[in-house]
């Protein structure tokens, strides 16, 4: 076992974990933050995307120990006081989800796309950037619309500070 200390959704967390523990296992099994999903276990589906120091990563491909000292934000940390993040609001408005399994990863990836590519996103860019997120309800059309709208909403609204 090894000690790890990091911040998850604004809360300091310390734990003893096996060195092989993946970040997604730590979030789901130790912290019971089950909003982060394991869809494929092979880094293809993107259901496990979280932010580490503001950047999107696939938490099924990161060791918990490698996140020592970082700020991790999960889907649960986006609306800490019940006020939805503009991207969450856009997903709801545009019916960008059916079963909801891929949705947390989609939203976390979408916010990172905005961080990297700006608030005015065209469909081609969004579709290319979503290569690492798979939706099995085939809801991409509305997801793309939601991300374009959410990106613009993020520019309009003062960003609710995601807990980090």
């Amino acid at each position: 076992m090894a000690k790890v200390a990091l911040s998850v959704n604004g809360k300091a967390v310390t734990a003893d974990v096996e060195p092989r523990t993946l970040l997604v296992q730590f979030l789901r099994d130790n912290l019971l933050l089950t909003g982060t999903h394991v869809g494929c276990d092979t880094s293809q589906c993107g259901a496990c995307v979280v932010h580490v120091n503001g950047k999107a990563i696939k938490s099924c491909t990161a060791l918990t120990l490698s996140c020592e000292g970082t700020n991790v934000t999960t889907i649960e940390g986006l609306a800490p006081d019940g006020q939805l993040h503009p991207m969450q609001e856009a997903f709801r408005e545009h019916h960008a989800l059916q079963c909801g399994f891929c949705t947390p990863g989609m939203i976390m990836s979408a916010i990172d796309i905005v961080r990297r590519k700006g608030n005015r996103l065209d469909e081609t860019t969004i579709r290319a950037e979503l290569e690492g997120n798979i939706c099995r309800c085939t809801g991409y059309h509305n997801i793309v619309k939601a991300i374009a709208a959410g990106a613009q909403a993020m520019a309009r609204q003062p960003m609710p500070q995601a807990a980090e």
């Binding site: 789901r28 089950t34 999903h37 649960e76 609306a79 969450q88 997903f91 709801r92 909801g100 947390p104």
Partner: protein, 32 residues
């Protein structure tokens, strides 16, 4: 036939928990 509600889109009640990470799936069950 105006304002009958028939054919009106309905906001899904389950979406809130799905977009906030509160959806529950079988993988979330802690087996003994």
């Amino acid at each position: 036939m105006a304002n009958t509600g028939i054919g009106q889109p309905v906001r899904r009640v389950e979406d809130f928990r799905f977009i906030t990470g509160a959806g529950q799936y079988t993988a979330d069950i802690n087996r003994p």
